[in-house]
C-alpha cells in the first residue's frame, strides 16, 4: 500500500472512532495546534515529556505566548492539573486508526492517560497498513525489557450503562492526531 493510501485509510478510520485528525507542516505547527486546542477548551496547561532541543524550545515558546503552563517531567506531581497531553507516536496503523506508542516512561503514560485532551503527533512516514506489519518491531521492543507499549485508537469510551456510547470514562475525552506530512520521524 502506498503511503498516501495508508494516510487516507487512517483518516477515514479515525473518524469512526471520533479521533480528530489534522495534517501539519512541522513540529512547530503541531505545538501551535496543541496550544490552540487547549485554549479553546479553557485548559491551562500542557504536559509534554521526553522532548528536547529545538522541539522543546518551540513548545516552550508556544506555551508562553498562549499563557499555558508546561509540564515536562515528574508528572505524578501534576496529576489533576494536566489539560492537554502532547506526545509523539512511534507508528500509526491505518486499518484501525491506531497510534502505537512506547509508553515505558511513567511521565509519558501519565501525560497520555491523565489529561483531558490527548494530542498525538505522527510522522506521515510511520504509517503502516495493519498491526501484523509491526510484528517484528513489537517483538524487538518487547525483548528490550522493561517495556510498556500502548495501542491507542480513539478516546476513552464505555457503553456500560444501557449500551449508550459515552466518551471519556477514565482517560482523555478527546484524541487529536496530527500527521506531519513527509517526515521520516
Amino acid at each position: 500500500m502506498k503511503q498516501d493510501d495508508a494516510l487516507t485509510l487512517l483518516k477515514e478510520r479515525a473518524q469512526a472512532v471520533q479521533t480528530i485528525t489534522a495534517e501539519v507542516a512541522d513540529f512547530r505547527a503541531a505545538c501551535l495546534y496543541a496550544v490552540d486546542v487547549t485554549q479553546r477548551q479553557g485548559g491551562t496547561s500542557i504536559a509534554a515529556p521526553g522532548l528536547s532541543g529545538k522541539d522543546l524550545s518551540h513548545l516552550k515558546a508556544a506555551c508562553k505566548t498562549g499563557g499555558l503552563k508546561l509540564f515536562t517531567k515528574n508528572l505524578r506531581e501534576n496529576i489533576g492539573q494536566i489539560s492537554t497531553g502532547l506526545t509523539i507516536a512511534d507508528w500509526g496503523i491505518a486499518e484501525t486508526a491506531t497510534l502505537v506508542m512506547d509508553s515505558t516512561s511513567e511521565d509519558f503514560r501519565i501525560a497520555t492517560m491523565l489529561c483531558e485532551t490527548h494530542v498525538a503527533i505522527l510522522p506521515g512516514s510511520k504509517i503502516v497498513q495493519d498491526a501484523m506489519s509491526l510484528e517484528n518491531e513489537l517483538t524487538s521492543a518487547m525483548k528490550a525489557a522493561p517495556r510498556y507499549f500502548a495501542f491507542i485508537s480513539g478516546a476513552s469510551r464505555t457503553a456500560d450503562i444501557e449500551r449508550v456510547l459515552t466518551i471519556g470514562v477514565h482517560g482523555p475525552r478527546e484524541l487529536h492526531l496530527l500527521i506531519v506530512k513527509g517526515t521520516s520521524g
Binding site: E106, M132, A145, G154, D160, H170
Partner: protein
C-alpha cells in the same frame, strides 16, 4: 452473590421470572440486532472462517504445550524483574495475591476487569482478608456495588436499567442522579474512581495474552482503566489463566484481529497494552514497579490433556456466543451461565465451578448452532455442551425416564417403527384432523403453547412403493433419508418431492432399514444410542450405491454430516462410509436448484407472498442459505424477508419439552416477525420447524399457512410433460 440453581425445577422458576422482565427482553433483543450489523461491518473484507481456522490451529498448538510455554514465559518475565507465581487452584491464586498485598503493606487495591478474577472470587477473598478492593471498569464497578456477578463477559452490567444505575450512584455520592443523564453518571464514575486510582497501592489486572517469547502480557480494554491500574499503584499483580499463553507476538496479533471485532463489532478496542517486565513507577521507593504475574491452573492443565474438551481452552472470552444465543437473549447472563456466561459458560462451569452448578444450566441448549457459527476460535460449542450434559448424566447415574425409553425404542428399528404405527391407532380418540385434540397427560399444561400433529395414518415408507415411479434410464440415483417426522408425521412432504422429481429422470429410493438419525439421542446426552442408530443407518444406506443422499429434514441432514463423523471416528470400518455419506448428502433446496436446475418455466406464476424461516441446521449446520430463497422465486413466489429469519424457532426436539417457556417465547417472537411481513405462507425446510411453527400458528389462530418448501414448490408445478 452468584446463585446458580442446582436443579431444573428451580432453574425453570428463575427462567420464568426472567421472561417477565420486559427491560431485559427488549434491551438484549436490541443488542442482538445491533451486534449482528456491527459485527458484519467489522469483518467486511476479512475471511472470518479462515481467520478462525488459523486462530484455532495456533491455540491448539499452544494448548498442547502449556507447561513449556509457561516455563519460557517465566524465564523471560523474571529476567525483566517480574515475580512469576503458579497457582494450582482458585484458592491458591487468591491466597498468593493476598500474601503479596500483605508483604507489601498494601491497604487499597484497584482492579481492572478480569474474568479470571471473577472465576476465583478474588474480591471476596481479599475483602475477607481486610483489603479494600475497587473494581474500576464501569460495568464491573456497578455490579460490585450491587454485589452481583457479571451478566455478560464483555458488558457485565448489560442487565441493568439507567434508573437502577442512577439509584445506585445516588446512594454512592449522596446526591440525586438523573437517570437520563448517562454522560453525567459516567462523570460520577470518573471522579469517584480517579481518587481510588491515586490512593491504591496495588493494581490487579487480568491479561488477554501471555507471550512466552518475550514474557509479555497484553491487555485489551476500552475505558483506559487497565492502563491506570497497571501504572499508578506501586504494585501490579496480573492474574492470568494458563490458557492465555501463546508462543509469540504474531499469535497475539492474530487473535487481536478477531477479538474486538467479534466482541463488540469494533475494529480494535480503544486501548491495547503490552507490558514486559517491571517498568518505571515513581511512587515506589526504588522508582520501579513491583510486578507479579500469577498463572492460574484451576483445572486447565487437565482440560488441556483431554482429547474432546481441550478445545474449550481456545476461548478468547469475546462473549459472542452469548450475543447470538437466542436463549441468552431472552433470559440474560444471570440465567445463562455461572461465572462464565453464554455457550462457553455452560461448558466451563462444569470444569471450573463443578457439577452442581452446571447440572441444570447445561441442559438449556437448543443446539441451534448460532454460537458455533460466530466462535472466532472454531469451538464446537453445541457439541461440547452435549458432551458435558452426557458426562453429568453418567456421573450422577440419574437418567430421566425419557432417556431410558428413547434408548429402548431406538435400539431396535422394527420395534421403534411398530410403536409409531401403533401410536397412529392409539391416538385416534385424541386426534382432530391433522392435530392431536388433547395432549397425553404428560405433555398437558405447559406444552399447550402449540398444537401437536397427529401421526399419519400411513407413513411414507408404507406408501413408497406405490407412489414411487420407476425410471428407466435415470440420470441420478438418489436415496431419500426420510427422518422420523417426514416418514411418520408428514409423508406429504415426501410425496411432494416425488412429484417434483417426476419429469427429471431421477430414480429415488427409500432404503427401508433406515431409522431415526439419532439426533434426539444426542440431544439428550445419549451418545451410545446415537452411535447405535448411526451404525444402523450406515448399514441401511450404502453411499456407494447412490449419487446423492437427499434429506427433507435439515436437522437429520446436519446430524448425519457433522456428528456421524464424531460418533464413528473410532470405527475404522465405517469411517470411509461416513466421509462418503458427507460428500453425497444434500438438502432438498440445493438438490432442486443445483442438481435438477429447475427452470421458472416449470412453475406457475403469482404464487403469492411467502416468508421464510431458515432452519438452524440448514443455514448453519449445512451452510445452505441462498438456494431455498432462490427456489422460492423460481417457483413463482414473492419472497418477503422477515426479521431474525435465521434465529431458532424454539423447537430443538426434546428441548421444547424440557423448557417449554423458552420454546414458547421464541416461537411467539418468530411468528410475530412473520405476521409483520404480511406473507400468506411461511415456508421452511425442516419438518421439525414445520411442527413447531404450524402448531404455534394454529394455536394462536393465525392466518399464515406453514408449509415445507417441498410442498409449496410442488403445488406451483405445472403438469409434468409426458414423454412419447
Amino acid at each position: 452473590m452468584i446463585k446458580t440453581p442446582h436443579d431444573v425445577k428451580t432453574y425453570r422458576r428463575d427462567l420464568k421470572n426472567a421472561l417477565r422482565n420486559n427491560f431485559l427482553g427488549a434491551t438484549l433483543d436490541n443488542f442482538a440486532t445491533a451486534y449482528r450489523t456491527s459485527r458484519a461491518t467489522a469483518f467486511s473484507g476479512i475471511d472470518f472462517d479462515a481467520l478462525a481456522h488459523e486462530i484455532a490451529a495456533g491455540k491448539d498448538q499452544s494448548i498442547a504445550h502449556l507447561p513449556e510455554l509457561l516455563e519460557k514465559f517465566s524465564t523471560q518475565a523474571e529476567k525483566a524483574g517480574v515475580k512469576v507465581h503458579f497457582a494450582r487452584t482458585a484458592f491458591e491464586a487468591n491466597s498468593i495475591i493476598a500474601s503479596i498485598a500483605k508483604a507489601s503493606g498494601v491497604k487499597q487495591i484497584v482492579k481492572g476487569k478480569s474474568m479470571t478474577a471473577e472465576e476465583t472470587f478474588l474480591n471476596a477473598h481479599l475483602e475477607k482478608e481486610g483489603f479494600e478492593v475497587t473494581e474500576t471498569d464501569l460495568g464491573e464497578w456497578i455490579i460490585q456495588l450491587r454485589n452481583e456477578g457479571p451478566s455478560h463477559m464483555v458488558m457485565p452490567a448489560i442487565h441493568l436499567t439507567r434508573q437502577e444505575v442512577a439509584e445506585l450512584f445516588t446512594k454512592v455520592t449522596g446526591k440525586p442522579q438523573d437517570p437520563d443523564d448517562i454522560n453525567g453518571m459516567v462523570k460520577v464514575a470518573r471522579k469517584e474512581l480517579r481518587r481510588k486510582f491515586l490512593d491504591a497501592e496495588m493494581g490487579i489486572s487480568g491479561a488477554n495474552f501471555a507471550i512466552a517469547e518475550t514474557g509479555t502480557i497484553g491487555l485489551v480494554t476500552n475505558e483506559g482503566n487497565g492502563r491506570l491500574v497497571t501504572t499508578l499503584p506501586r504494585v501490579h499483580v496480573a492474574l492470568v489463566g494458563v490458557d492465555k499463553l501463546l508462543p509469540d507476538m504474531k499469535s497475539a496479533l492474530r487473535i487481536l484481529k478477531a477479538l474486538p471485532r467479534n466482541a463488540t463489532g469494533q475494529l480494535i478496542s480503544t486501548y491495547v497494552t503490552w507490558i514486559t517486565g517491571a517498568t518505571e513507577c515513581k511512587s515506589s521507593p526504588d522508582s520501579k514497579k513491583e510486578m507479579h504475574i500469577v498463572f492460574l491452573d484451576n483445572g486447565r492443565l487437565a482440560l488441556a490433556a483431554d482429547p474432546a474438551f481441550s478445545e474449550a481452552l481456545r476461548c478468547i472470552r469475546c462473549g459472542a456466543c452469548a450475543n447470538v444465543c437466542p436463549i441468552y437473549k431472552l433470559v440474560g447472563g444471570h440465567n445463562y451461565g455461572h461465572v462464565y456466561i453464554g455457550a462457553i459458560g455452560l461448558i466451563l462451569t462444569y470444569f471450573y465451578h463443578g457439577r452442581r452448578n452446571a447440572r441444570a444450566i447445561v441442559k438449556n441448549c437448543l443446539n441451534c448452532q448460532a454460537c458455533k457459527s460466530v466462535c472466532p476460535t472454531g469451538i464446537d460449542l453445541p457439541h461440547l455442551i452435549k458432551e458435558v450434559h452426557r458426562t453429568v448424566l453418567n456421573v450422577e447415574g440419574k437418567k430421566p425416564v425419557k432417556n431410558l425409553l428413547l434408548k429402548k425404542a431406538l435400539g431396535n428399528r422394527r420395534m421403534f417403527h411398530f410403536l409409531l404405527r401403533r401410536a397412529s391407532l392409539a391416538q385416534k380418540p385424541f386426534s382432530e384432523g391433522q392435530y392431536l385434540r388433547h395432549l397425553p397427560f404428560m405433555f398437558s399444561g405447559e406444552q399447550e403453547f402449540r398444537r401437536l400433529p397427529a401421526i399419519a395414518k400411513v407413513p411414507l415408507r408404507d406408501m413408497w412403493e406405490s407412489i414411487n415411479r420407476r425410471v428407466e434410464n435415470p440420470r441420478y440415483r438418489v436415496a431419500l433419508f426420510g427422518g422420523c417426522l417426514s416418514d411418520f408425521v408428514y409423508p406429504e412432504q415426501g410425496e411432494a418431492l416425488l412429484q417434483l422429481c417426476g419429469d427429471h429422470e431421477v430414480q429415488l429410493e427409500y432404503p427401508m432399514e433406515q431409522t431415526c438419525c439419532g439426533l434426539p439421542a444426542q440431544m439428550m446426552g445419549e451418545r451410545e444410542t446415537a452411535k447405535d442408530v448411526a451404525v444402523q443407518n450406515l448399514r441401511a444406506i450404502d453411499p456407494a450405491d447412490y449419487d446423492y443422499i437427499l434429506t427433507l429434514c435439515a436437522s437429520c441432514g446436519s446430524h448425519l454430516k457433522e456428528n456421524y463423523q464424531k460418533l464413528l471416528s473410532q470405527e475404522p470400518a465405517l469411517a470411509v462410509k461416513v466421509s462418503q455419506l458427507r460428500d453425497k448428502l444434500i438438502d432438498f433446496s440445493s438438490f432442486i436448484v443445483k442438481v435438477l436446475k429447475v427452470d421458472p418455466e416449470e412453475f406457475r406464476r403469482l404464487g403469492g407472498k411467502v416468508a421464510y424461516h431458515s432452519p438452524c441446521h440448514l443455514c448453519r449446520g449445512l451452510g445452505v442459505t441462498k438456494e431455498p430463497r432462490e427456489l422460492l422465486s423460481t417457483a413463482g413466489f414473492e419472497y418477503v424477508p422477515a426479521k431474525d429469519e435465521d434465529v431458532c424457532c424454539g423447537f430443538g426436539g426434546s428441548y421444547s419439552i424440557d423448557f417449554p417457556e423458552i420454546s414458547a417465547e421464541l416461537l411467539k417472537r418468530k411468528l410475530d416477525n412473520v405476521e409483520d411481513t404480511g406473507a400468506e405462507t411461511l415456508v421452511t425446510d425442516c419438518p421439525g420447524c414445520v411442527l413447531q411453527l404450524r402448531g404455534g400458528m394454529e394455536k394462536r389462530g393465525g392466518k399464515v399457512k406453514v408449509k415445507h418448501i417441498a410442498e409449496v414448490v410442488a403445488e406451483q408445478k405445472k403438469q409434468p410433460r409426458r414423454k412419447g
